[in-house]
Symmetry: C2
Subunit: 348 residues, 2 copies
């Protein structure tokens, strides 16, 4: 293998290779902060004062799929990056990159979706940009979002500090401690599978819809229950990536009970048939979190009460080892490695 | 002509058609504000509290050109949108959309440029995103920026209020009053011409470089001189677009002395040969502003002292008519219409 001379697909695919790419090209040039969270922390959002700030460009093929569209994703995805550090999404920018000749009707459906979810969340889109290009991009949408600290976050952090040292003002992905519960907020892999199944040439007979959803709408209840020490939304690279990032950044290991991971039979069948690992497939409305163990049941109850009826405690953090370990139904253990790249491209 | 069914190039080309497109598709769905400036105001930035917020996605062919690159543009252009409402650029996000197979060396040159101008401006890049796509996009870069109110802006607005009613907290593009001076900060059309001349098939023998530059570095001095009532950076659609937008939004007319518009002989020759109107060609480091007439000379002096030696008073606002009128050297007058679209695509 010679020196890398071109940009590869996996350099932007949300796994280990992308991390390497960013650490080589971006971090050395731009690392900085305006508050507590540095660019090099590669958390889901950064912060300044009492505000959180994040950005994401969405590229999805096809742009409309069962359960949503690139428009719904552009609102929910950016709002979710704010929500998982505990910030309430409040303000967004919207930048459209549209291929010349793109069907107006499709664009209008995408914009309708954006409008709907902007309203559900109560965010204000206050600035934007539109460019039309010849490149065969279809439509790509950047949304940058600003969120605020509020009483839900304040309360959660106060409660965590009753239990242990927690030096941060936001819920950080490096914040997990040992002996804490690992919770996933619902059934996994539905976004990636729904998008993949909507592509030409693949058409399994099933009713799977994308799980795209603004997680703030239920996370505020979970924050009220208190005790959340780390969160990530499990997008590119799936829960395998989210769990590994929390474990690595927090310097804890995890033991995950495979049987407790919520997943539908249809998704399992689809993944089995295509040789895909559902743990590394993207979600767009699922959060992985660690919670002070005394409060795990209360948090789970709050999530379920807020509509996340499939939320589960799937395991615990440990200081005995530093990997994410999966325990299977027959009692064997295997390490769950961080995905090198998302197995399904262009899903977010 | 039937009903429009597809997205056309001119729908994203910065002129009248784009305005119509936004008023039809975007504004009815998303119009909102978090402060003084509404999305429907289509000003260069919006605001929340003491912060300004803006977004722009850059698509430039070729990505590296005389005087700069898409990287320099992505930093300067977004900083400039903040600066022209009087905000000091402070924080940015950076979202890269890269074509699979893109040359790493070119990407590194682009990133080097971004790094240089991030440092010149003293902004902090605190959050980002990277996606790799198959589409033939080369590299597209979204930067969203956050700026702050500071003493330069405060002083300027205080001074303006000594002269007349000025109901805003920011320098608004609807803020021009009658009988004010119109200033352009330097020689026009250099960005669009430099990028166009760098394209395959066009190669005039000339030394024109893009004027891409972070205008905050000289606008802070102009704000200190006081008296600025409206500003726009003259990007897509050139000064023809910027002047018309200020005039229309402020409900004033303008009389512009053609001979006083700063332009190099080379640019005039290039535009003449290609049948292009330099007034509607993009700039990336030039500001058009209106200034209380008593303070016009002082503002001009401040601009020149801050390095903008070609800055000129090019005309005056009037309440006698509502158009932008150009007076030629032989004394004839003609209306300068708002461009329907930028004559040179993919320059910003």
């Amino acid at each position: 293998m010679g020196e890398q001379k071109i940009v590869r697909r996996e350099d932007g695919a949300g796994g280990k290779y992308m991390g390497d790419f960013l650490r080589k090209l971006i971090i050395p040039r731009f690392d900085s902060s305006a508050g507590e969270i540095r660019l090099s922390d590669m958390d889901d959002s950064s912060d300044f004062g009492d505000y959180a700030f994040t950005t994401d460009t969405y590229v999805v093929t096809p742009p409309i799929f069962p359960g949503g569209s690139i428009g719904k994703l552009a609102i929910c995805g950016t709002a979710n990056d704010l929500a998982v550090i505990g910030a309430e999404p409040k303000i967004m920018s919207m930048s459209l990159l549209i291929q010349e000749g793109f069907q107006l009707e499709t664009l209008e459906r995408i914009l309708d979706d954006m409008e709907q979810w902007v309203k559900e969340l109560g965010v204000a889109v206050i600035t934007g940009d539109t460019k039309v290009v010849e490149a065969d991009i279809g439509v790509a949408i950047n949304t940058s979002g600003i969120g605020i600290r509020n009483r839900h976050l304040e309360r959660n952090i106060e409660v965590v500090r009753d239990y242990r040292d927690y030096p941060w003002r936001w819920v950080r992905d490096c914040g997990a401690g040992e002996g804490e519960a690992v919770i996933v907020s619902g059934r996994i892999a539905e976004h990636g599978v729904a998008v993949l199944n909507a592509r030409e040439g693949i058409d399994f007979d099933m009713n799977v819809e994308s799980d795209a959803f603004p997680v703030w709408l239920f996370l505020k209840n979970a924050l009220d229950a208190g005790g959340i020490t780390a969160m990530k939304d499990a997008t590119r690279g799936g829960i395998a990536n989210a769990l590994n990032e929390i474990a690595e950044k927090s310097r804890v290991g995890m033991i995950i009970d495979e049987e407790r991971i919520p997943i539908s039979g249809e998704i399992q069948g689809f993944c089995g048939a295509l040789g895909l690992d559902p743990l590394s497939i993207a979600n767009e409305g699922k959060v992985v979190m660690t919670v002070v163990s005394d409060l795990a049941e209360e948090t789970l109850k709050a999530l379920r009460k807020a509509g996340q009826k499939d939320a589960e405690i799937i395991g615990y953090t440990t200081s005995e080892f530093s990997e994410v370990v999966i325990e299977t139904s027959i009692g064997t253990r295997k390490v769950l490695p961080p995905p090198v790249a998302d197995p399904v491209p262009r899903v977010c």
